[in-house]
């Protein structure tokens, strides 16, 4: 096709977590309608044809909801566009002849597995520490027995929309997971269902986050700017408040 874009890619290649990585140059020609990941698919297909190992990158739903994909494109997680995941980035947003740098998410808490794939299991551990409402199956009351104002439900949804991709951590100069943690804490703090465990949740999740080596927030708000779901830093303010009030009010003197 004539309207293909010719691009120069500089892709981070690293064969295993301990190996020394480096940027490798590739030249690609791609349709402007293709997505960024489809461009990498094509590159990989070419590499495989030449018996070379394809670039490892993770992706799944390719609709911007599963949170699996994520790479740093020209210095920004999920690329230059706002409120989309990498899989939703289309090549028409690049210029013919452009050089594109592709790097993995970088943070101490997200060790590189291979090439562009990183280990984000720390997020799971934070949720396991308290990101839930303790209700056993079958013990719930009728759903409409608990009216919740439309606005509160809507705000809770805004917080719950997080896809756990880790872009916030990747872009934060401190490798902080505050946006991720605060979104979950806020969702439950807003809802009546979340009240019984409210203090304990904030305490436990923050303690786990600190333990896993995430940095602390210095309010640059880069996370909000890069978040594919536009999660607001107001969640972080809310978490700060929740944590402070939990620490002041809870009877937990051990920690």
């Amino acid at each position: 096709m004539n309207n293909n874009l010719n691009l120069k890619l500089k892709v981070w290649r690293q064969s295993n977590p301990k190996a020394v990585g480096a940027f490798v140059d590739y030249n690609v020609s791609v349709s402007p309608d293709a997505s960024f990941l489809e461009m990498l698919d094509e590159l990989n297909n070419e590499l495989e044809k030449n018996n070379q190992e394809p670039v490892v990158f993770e992706s799944d739903c390719r609709e911007g909801i599963c949170g699996t994909c994520g790479m740093v494109i020209n210095g920004e997680p999920h690329g230059p566009l706002r409120k989309i995941a990498t899989c939703q980035l289309h090549m028409r947003n690049f210029k013919d002849g452009q050089t594109i740098w592709v790097e993995p998410f970088r943070a101490k808490a997200f060790p590189i597995i291979k090439d562009l794939a990183v280990d984000r299991s720390a997020f799971d551990k934070i949720i396991q520490a308290g990101g839930y409402i303790s209700v056993n199956t079958g013990s719930a009351q009728d759903a409409n027995a608990l009216p919740i104002s439309k606005d509160i439900a809507s705000d809770a949804f805004d917080s719950a929309a997080c896809i756990g991709c880790g872009a916030c951590v990747a872009t934060c100069k401190n490798g902080s997971a505050m946006l991720f943690v605060s979104a979950k804490v806020t969702q439950f703090a807003l809802l009546p269902q979340g009240q019984p465990e409210r203090q304990q949740r904030a305490e436990a999740m923050v303690a786990k986050m600190d333990e896993l080596g995430f940095g602390s927030c210095s309010n640059t708000y880069a996370c909000e700017a890069e978040c594919p779901k536009g999660i607001s830093v107001r969640n972080i303010a809310k978490l700060n408040h929740e944590y402070l009030s939990a620490k002041c009010k809870s009877t937990n003197v051990e920690a």
Binding site: D41, C66, Q128, A143
Partner: protein
């Protein structure tokens, strides 16, 4: 009846499940921790099952090929979840949901299972709300509903356009809680490659650690598969890139019958293809059909921009053909109608696309209200296509989306292998030949939260188990087999990449086992798939190593299975000499072009027993309709 016993309890349909629950044997609470249950797949069905079984006190080992359970493709479900709550006072009831589901499935589902599904649907909503799922609400603070295809009541609960995400995160949070408690042990990044059957019962699995390539073995007293559907056999589908059939296929090869493989759902509202490099198709929620009108130009070759085509030159073909359901006609009918008008050459610019037009709703309800309801869908569309759907009608076309077929299970969700339970999309049980919108989430959660916790207990309580460990010969044999296959794949070093073969298979399946099928095409395609399979094993190129993260190798294993499954789908489609739901045989249609069922000869579940690659034995489970009257589906 043959060897298939559906174990449907006797009695009136309303009390079957209640009585059955009472008759099921229980496991003493103190004994529960002695039972190890393996759950493979942690999407909606798997995560809800693992969490609930953990809550009950069983020792659960849960497996996922993702890096986290939160990535499962359940997360992508947009529209909503059905439940017979009748909160809208519009005449809904358990019986009506049951009826709609059976009818929507074109009378090819088992009555008792579907009734139970409708019966527990309300509990699901209660459970999810208690977990903190932020469903949409009315100003008064109560839950909001919307309507969906195939129903004339508003029974769909939703959380903007991200219902699946919110429900999955709910199940994931319940699962996380059990992981924290220690009752569930989570194994991420493991792909199940074999089922271990010892003394005729499922006793374990063999998985590949996707990071290290190590083959690992796990034993248990029962195995639960909740690994989703197989739409990716088409290469291009709305499924996630990694969704695959390997777990159910390997279980099938170990004795689990595969039921109704030809029942595939082609979703009517997906974004049209953009080009060769396309890796998957994107779904636009069917909920858009609530306010959207589907149309094409009346004249062939009318290439004017949509806004310049006057009202009387547009063909709102769904409204025309099905006046009472109109744009909310079931998925199979909507998809096929789109194909029809495009085959006539009336698609957008003569190609494969129709308009989904919300301009009238935008005018009526205001842009803000539409934005609130569908904002994220519109954004998604704009981002992918580069067009603004608030100004220009969206273009849509059908795409493979869901597979109603799956492993055969009885009323207890147990497959033909004792101790192997199958949940969610991976089984065949509830949707017949066509699934209604917002019913997949319902089924996944019904199976996981409210069915398996009861039925698995009965199996465990009534079965005598001999002690089994991973040192058993069957494990060794299986491990060797799995390693053998990995070695084989890496050693071929041919000329064609895995993706190229997968794309070829996808095209074959789409053209001949897609929206419309015929005897000639099916016979041809069976031969073509066999050839492609041979080519794969002779000429595929899988680069990389086995003891490493090797995504090409992962895909190769999955494609190898699709190359066998595809043949079974075609075989099943060829066997079924009727049209029903998602299975449309061109030879069997009414004069108006509607699906023509043959209840006399094909009112059965086709359950295929694996004998050899390319060879299956057919078993039939006759479907009895005691409570509903068999009727030709009409949405006019």
């Amino acid at each position: 009846m043959g060897i298939l016993d559906s174990k449907v309890p006797a009695g009136p349909i309303e009390s079957k499940w209640t009585n059955h629950k009472f008759n099921l044997k229980l496991v003493n609470p103190a004994n529960k921790r002695k039972y190890e249950i393996i759950v493979v797949g942690t999407g909606l069905a798997g995560a809800s099952a693992a969490a609930t079984l953990g809550e009950l006190g069983y020792k659960v080992k849960a497996f996922s090929f993702h890096d986290s359970p939160r990535r499962a493709h359940s997360i992508a479900a947009q529209g909503g979840i059905n439940a017979a709550k009748n909160y809208q006072n519009d005449g809904d009831s358990i019986f009506r949901l049951f009826y709609d589901t059976i009818k929507g499935g074109d009378f090819r589902a088992r009555e008792a299972n579907v009734y139970r599904l409708a019966e527990v649907s309300g509990n699901i909503i209660d459970q999810c709300v208690a977990q903190g799922v932020p469903f949409a609400r009315e100003y008064g603070g109560l839950l909001d509903n919307r309507s969906f295809g195939g129903a004339q009541v508003s029974r769909t609960f939703y959380a903007r356009g991200q219902t699946g995400q919110q429900l999955l995160l709910g199940a994931y949070s319940a699962l996380s809680r059990q992981i924290n408690n220690g009752s569930v042990q989570m194994f991420n990044r493991r792909e199940m490659l074999d089922l271990i059957v010892i003394d005729g019962a499922a006793r374990g699995i063999v998985v590949r650690n996707l990071l290290t390539g190590e083959i690992e073995k796990y034993s248990g007293h029962a195995v639960v598969l909740a690994t989703g559907g197989y739409s990716n056999v088409f290469f291009l589908s709305t499924n996630a890139m990694n969704s695959n059939a390997t777990a159910i296929w390997r279980a099938h090869k170990k004795g689990a019958f595969f039921a109704n493989p030809c029942y595939t759902q082609i979703h009517p509202t997906c974004l049209p293809l953009h080009g060769e490099s396309q890796s998957k198709l994107t779904l636009m929620s069917e909920s858009l059909r609530n306010d959207g009108r589907v149309w094409v130009p009346k004249k062939k070759g009318d290439h004017r921009p949509p806004n310049q085509i006057p009202e009387d030159e547009r063909d709102y073909y769904l409204e025309r053909k099905y006046p009472s359901y109109g744009n909310l006609s079931p998925r199979d009918i909507s998809s096929r109608s789109a194909k029809e008008v495009c085959d006539e050459g009336r698609g957008v610019n003569g190609g494969e696309a129709v308009y989904l037009d919300l301009s009238e709703a935008i005018k009526r309800l205001g842009k803000k209200s539409i934005e609130e309801k569908y904002g994220n869908l519109f954004d998604m569309y704009a981002n992918i296509t580069g067009e603004n759907p608030y100004d220009v009608p969206m273009k849509i076309y059908p795409a493979p989306h869901y597979t109603m077929g799956g492993l055969w299970v009885d009323y207890n969700l147990m497959s033909t292998v004792p101790g192997l339970f199958v949940l969610g999309e991976a089984n065949f049980s509830d949707h017949g030949a066509n699934r209604l919108g917002a019913s997949a989430l319902m089924q996944g959660l019904a199976d996981g939260y409210f069915v398996i916790p009861y039925t698995i207990g009965d199996y465990l309580a009534t079965t005598k188990f001999s002690p089994v460990s991973v040192t058993h010969d069957e494990f060794k044999k299986s491990e060797e087999g799995v390693k053998e296959q990995v070695k084989k794949l890496l050693s071929i070093k041919g000329k064609i990449t895995v993706d190229e073969i997968h794309k070829k298979l996808g095209r074959l399946m789409w053209n001949k086992v897609g929206m419309a099928r015929n005897e000639k095409g099916l016979k041809e395609v069976i031969g073509e798939i066999k050839e492609l399979r041979e080519e794969f094993w002779k000429n595929v190129n899988v680069v990389g190593k086995d003891n490493d993260l090797n995504q090409t190798l992962e895909r190769a294993g999955r494609v190898a299975d699709y190359l066998e499954l595809g043949e079974l789908m075609a075989t099943d489609a060829l066997n079924r000499n009727e049209s029903c739901g998602g299975h449309f045989r061109e030879e069997y249609q009414t004069e108006e072009g509607e699906a023509k069922r043959d209840d006399e000869n094909y009112r059965y579940v086709a359950a295929w027993q694996f004998e050899n690659v390319g060879k299956w034995n057919l078993h039939k489970e006759q479907l009895e309709f005691e409570f509903l009257h068999l009727a030709q589906r009409s949405y006019k």
